[in-house]
C-alpha cells in the first residue's frame, strides 16, 4: 500500500546504498562515483520529505475523522484546512525520530555542497540517520489525535529548528571525533581509554532501568564509535589520505556548532514564546526546557573556549563531543524518561 511508511522504507534503502557507496569510494576516490551517490542521497532525501508530507496529510485526515466522529460540524472550508494541517508530522517519538533522521540528512547534504571532503563525515551521519529510522520503524506509527497543548502554530518552527540544531550538533560531534582521531598529539591509548570509559559510563547510566530498544541503540552507536577509533588508529592505513585534513575537520565542526547554537537559540526563544501563550509562563525549569538550555550553554562554553588562547583545539573538540551526549540526554533522554517527568511527557510514546 502506498503510504508514508512505504516511502520511509524506500528512502532508508537508498540511504543504505549511499552508505556502502561512500564506503566503497574511500578506496576508489572517484569524483564521478561520489556525485552519483550524492544524487542518490538527494533522491532519498526528497522521497523522505514526500513521505513526511504524506504523513502530515494522513494525520490530518485522522484529525478530521475523529473530529467528525465526535459529532462536531465543520463550519467552513478554512476550518477544514485548519483541521487538516494542525497535526504536523513531528508530534510523537516515532515521528520525531523520522524527522531527526531527515534533519541529519538535510544538514549533511548542505555539508556535502559546501565542503569537498564532507562525504567521509557523511558516512557517520548516514549511520546515525539510519539508526534513527530503524528505531522509528520498531514503533508502530499509529496516529492519535493531537493533545490540546500541541495545537499551536509554534510547533512548526519550534520542532523544525530543534531538528536542524540537533542534527548540526551531531555532525559537529562526528567531525570533532574524527579531528581527535587524526590528531597526532593524542596517543592511541588515551583515545581508547576515553572511548571505552564513555561506553562503560553509558552502560552504567542505563543500568538501573530495563533496557529499551532506544537505549540499546544509543549503546550500539557508542560501541560503533569505539570500534571505529580502534580500527582507524590501529590499522596501518595512513588515515590522513582518506580523511579530510585537520583544519577542514575543525572548520566543519566549528561551522556546524555555530549553526547548532543559532538554531538552539531559536528553539529556546520559540519555546519560551509558546510556553508564554499556552501556560502563562515563559520559563518553568521543566526538564525539557532545562535540557535545551543545557545544550545551548554547552555550545556557549565551546565558543568561549575557542576565544581562550590557552585552550587547544583538541580540548574544544572534547566539549563538542560532550555536546553530542548532552543533546542525546536533553532531547531523547527527557522523552524516554531518564529524568523526572515534565510537561513534555506527550513525546514519550
Amino acid at each position: 500500500m502506498f503510504s508514508s511508511t512505504y516511502l520511509y522504507n524506500t528512502s532508508s534503502l537508498l540511504y543504505v546504498i549511499v552508505l556502502f557507496g561512500y564506503l566503497l569510494n574511500i578506496g576508489i576516490k572517484s569524483s564521478t562515483l561520489k556525485k552519483i551517490f550524492t544524487t542518490i542521497l538527494s533522491i532519498g532525501f526528497i522521497i523522505q520529505s514526500i513521505g513526511i508530507a504524506l504523513r502530515w496529510l494522513e494525520s490530518g485526515l485522522v484529525e478530521v475523522h475523529s473530529f467528525l466522529a465526535s459529532s462536531n460540524e465543520i463550519q467552513s472550508r478554512l476550518h477544514y484546512l485548519v483541521l487538516l494541517t494542525q497535526h504536523p508530522p513531528w508530534s510523537d517519538l516515532y515521528e520525531i525520530m523520522i524527522f531527526m533522521s531527515w534533519g541529519i540528512i538535510f544538514v549533511s547534504l548542505i555539508c556535502e555542497m559546501k565542503w569537498e571532503n564532507a562525504s567521509f563525515i557523511n558516512i557517520f551521519s548516514l549511520l546515525f540517520s539510519l539508526v534513527a529510522l530503524g528505531l522509528a520503524s520498531l514503533n508502530k506509527g499509529i496516529t492519535k489525535p493531537l493533545v490540546p497543548a500541541l495545537k499551536s502554530w509554534w510547533i512548526m518552527i519550534h520542532v523544525i529548528s530543534a531538528s536542524i540544531a540537533y542534527a548540526a550538533g551531531i555532525i559537529a560531534a562526528i567531525s570533532s571525533l574524527l579531528f581527535l582521531i587524526s590528531s597526532k598529539s593524542i596517543s592511541t591509548r588515551s583515545l581508547l581509554i576515553g572511548s571505552l570509559s564513555t561506553f562503560v559510563l553509558f552502560l552504567l547510566l542505563l543500568m538501573p532501568d530495563y533496557y529499551s530498544s532506544w537505549d540499546l541503540a544509543l549503546l550500539f552507536v557508542i560501541f560503533i564509535g569505539c570500534v571505529l577509533i580502534m580500527v582507524i588508529r590501529l590499522s596501518s592505513i595512513n588515515h590522513s589520505s582518506i580523511m579530510p585534513s585537520q583544519t577542514q575537520l575543525d572548520h566543519i565542526s566549528y561551522s556546524n556548532i555555530l549553526i547548532s547554537f543559532s538554531f538552539t537559540t531559536v528553539v529556546l526563544i520559540t519555546g519560551c514564546l509558546w510556553a508564554h501563550y499556552a501556560w502563562g509562563r515563559y520559563w518553568g525549569w521543566d526538564p525539557k526546557e532545562t535540557g535545551a538550555l543545557l545544550i545551548w550553554l554547552t555550545y556557549a562554553f565551546y565558543l568561549h573556549t575557542r576565544l581562550n588562547y590557552e585552550w587547544s583545539l583538541e580540548k574544544s573538540s572534547l566539549i563538542s563531543i560532550l555536546g553530542f551526549f548532552i543533546i542525546i540526554a536533553g532531547f531523547l533522554g527527557v522523552n524516554l524518561g531518564w529524568f523526572s517527568y515534565g510537561l513534555h511527557s506527550y513525546g514519550r510514546s
Binding site: 475523529s66 473530529f67 466522529a69 465526535s70 462536531n72 492519535k144 489525535p145 493533545v147 490540546p148 497543548a149 495545537k151 499551536s152 509554534w154 583544519t247 577542514q248 572548520h251 561551522s255 555555530l258 547554537f261 543559532s262 537559540t265 531559536v266 526563544i269 519560551c272 514564546l273 509558546w274 508564554h276 501563550y277 499556552a278 501556560w279 502563562g280 509562563r281 515563559y282 520559563w283 518553568g284 525549569w285 521543566d286 526538564p287 532545562t290 535540557g291 538550555l293 543545557l294 550553554l297 554547552t298 556557549a300 562554553f301 568561549h304 573556549t305 576565544l307 581562550n308 540526554a329 536533553g330 527527557v334 529524568f339 523526572s340 517527568y341 515534565g342
Partner: protein
Amino acid sequence: MFKYYNIIFNFFVSLKLTLTLLFFLLLSLFISMFFDPSIPISFDNSSPLNPLNDIFELDDIFHSWWFTLIILLLALNLIACSIIRFPKIWNDSMIPYKRLDSFILRKSSEYANGYLKQIKMPLFNSAEYKWKDNNAEYIFFEKHKFARFGVYIIHFSLLVIMLGSILTSQFGFEGIMFIPEGKSSNMIQIQGPNKSSFLHHLNFQVRCNHFHLNTYLSGDINSYESNLSILKNKKDHSPILSKTIKLNDPLYYYGYTFYQESFKPLKKKKHVFFLKVNNELYVTSLKETFHYKCPVNKLKDKSIKIVKYFKDYYSLGEAIQIKTQDDIFIILKNAPNNYSHDLIKFIKADYQYATGIKVCKTPGITLVFLGFAIMLLGLMIAFRMNQRRYYAKIIKITEKKYYLSLAGTCNRFPQAFKKEFNSIVFKHLFI
C-alpha cells in the same frame, strides 16, 4: 585601595572565570534535571543527604542561594568583560588603520605581491578608499564593518532578559481561579513559598459564561474552552470584554492574562441549560430567573425561569418546563417544527463544570521578548557577518612597471576568506 579594586576587577574580567562559572552552571542544570520542579524532594530525617539539603537547598535548586550566586557572578563577569573590551573593539572597528604595513598582518591574514605592467581599477570595490603618499598609493576596503559588535549585542540581550526575569519574579504573580459555569469571581489563589497559599482580589469580576468540553469517541480530550466575560461588578450585566479562551489562546485585560488551564466537574452534578431566546444564546441553571431583551410585546414579561428538567418527557426526548410570570409551559429539545415555541428554543442540557483559569501578571515579559529580539539580531550579525578588510599598496617603479602588494584580514572563517582573497589575487596578479 586602588590595588584591591584592581584585583577584584581583574578577577571579573578573566575568561577563566566565565568558563568556570559556565561549567558549574552546566553541572547544576544537569543535576536538576533529575528532580521534578513541582514535587519537592523529601529526605528522611536520618538521611545523610539532609545536612547537604539544608545548606545547598537541593529541593529547589533554581531558587537556591548558590544558583543565584552563579547567575549573579556570570552577569558581573559579562559586564566587566564588556567594559574592558569594548573601547578596543570600538576603536578598531570605527577608526581602522588603513595603510598596508607589516603589523596589520595577523595569524589568519592573507598576503600576496607581484610586479605588473598596469593595474586595473578599482581593485576591490567601487566603494574603496584610496590616497597617495610620496612614493606609493594606498587602497583600503572593508566589508561588514559592524560584524564584531554582534557578540556584544548577544551579551547585552542576555542582560536584558535577566532584567526582565528579575522584574517578572519580583513584581509578577501566577495564580489559579476556579469559576463554575454561569458564576463570576474575583479571587485568585496564589501558591506561596513552602506550600502556603493566599488569595488575591481583583478589582473586577470574571464570569465564566459557559465551558465547553469536546471529547473524541474514545474519551480522549479533543479540546476545551471557556467563554469569559470581564465585569465591573457582580450585578453588572453588560460585560466590558468577552472572549472564548482555550489552550494557546488567552485573554488579556488590564495587565492580567487569563489562560485556560484545566477544568473540573462540580461536586454536586448540576445541570446547565443552553437556551436560545429570540436567537440569542443564554446559559442558565435550574430555578434561576434570568432576564432577556424583550422584542415587541411577544412575551410581556422579561424574566424566565426553568422550573423542571425532564430527561425523557413521555418518550418525546429531553424537555424543560419554563415559567414566565403568567404562564407555565413545556419546551421539547427535539420538537417538531409546528410545535416549537416561536421565541424560546431549548438547545441542550449539560453537566456543570468549573473552569480552571491560570491568571498571570508578568510585568517583565516585554523586556524578555525584547531581549529575544535583540539576541536574534545579534546572532545574525555575529554569525552571518564577517568583518573583512582588504589592503593594497601600489608602488610605481617606471611608467610600465608597478609593484602591487595585496593583504587581507578577516575576523572569522579564515578558510572561506582565503578563497575569496585568492580570487582577488587571481584577478589582479595573474592575468
